[in-house]
Amino acid sequence: MTAAPPLARETPSTASATSAAQVSLVDLLDRLLGAGVVISGDVVISMAGVDLVQVRLNALVSSVRADMADPRQSLRRPDDA
């Protein structure tokens, strides 16, 4: 064997996947949090007897991104007892 199959990073211009493509996590979050079927930019959660409760995901994503920038904090759990 003389050459390993090139990694996507090494041949970026030809990095098109051929079969079942694995979406990178960042690409996936771009789409699952930023696009997708959604009413008003917020996640809509229907709770018992209560109208729609909205979780403001954009703020959460900002904090996720800030966490990701600092690996020491990336595994931090906000509510560890």
Partner: protein, 263 residues
Amino acid sequence: MGESGRYMYAVTRGVEPAALGEVGLDGGPLEVVEEDGLAAVVSSVDLAEYGEDGLRRHLEDLEWLERVARAHDSVVQAVSRLGPVAPLRLATICLDEDGVRARLREWGTELRSALDRVADRVEWSVKVYMPGSVSRTVSVPDAEPARPADARRDRGLGTDYLRRKRTASDARRTAEEHGARVAAEIHEELARRSVAARVLAAQDPRLTGHEGTMTLNGAYLVAAADADAFAEHVEQLAGGYTEVRVESHGPWPPYSFATLEQP
């Protein structure tokens, strides 16, 4: 397990749960809730974890977020292999089946047009990177560089320093403008070749680890039958620009094109 809710992954026009060959989050079996010719693919989740408080806590936990995002994506991919798919945003949860039906009724018109828009189509991601640090991206309109007209006139103290500084800033501006122009050219060409196109926000290198500056994060909706031709075209186009790096990935479910219109 406490009270359970219904996690919605995607909406399609009709599918047998068994045909999906996937399970939902935490191993919960996938089920299909139908209403008015629309079919939501759902599974039961524990509201202690996926209710409002649980989500608030967990969405900041990267491991949790990745696990849920991957599971969500697996189901969306499975649905997309069987028919048109409108993926739902991560963590769209209803309390019960009636809640799911209510959402399908409420979003019915938009869901139908989203499904029409993406049927037999796939999404490609194309990103363009410039070497070095460039602050502008394709989303910023081009502007003519402001060139100092009298760069060589003064010969006083500090002029050399100022001139060097000016030259460096000119060079940077030129590189930025060139980067933005190349990204815009590539985007326009690919938009012409696709059914629909969107420019997503450039990704933060701290998240992706990429080198250089992402000047285009484009999403392109193409007919599934044309996907190979599109990929070839991207490759050819990329070959024409030696100064940028082009990455393309696909085919993906049409995540970027299933967004509901605002009422």
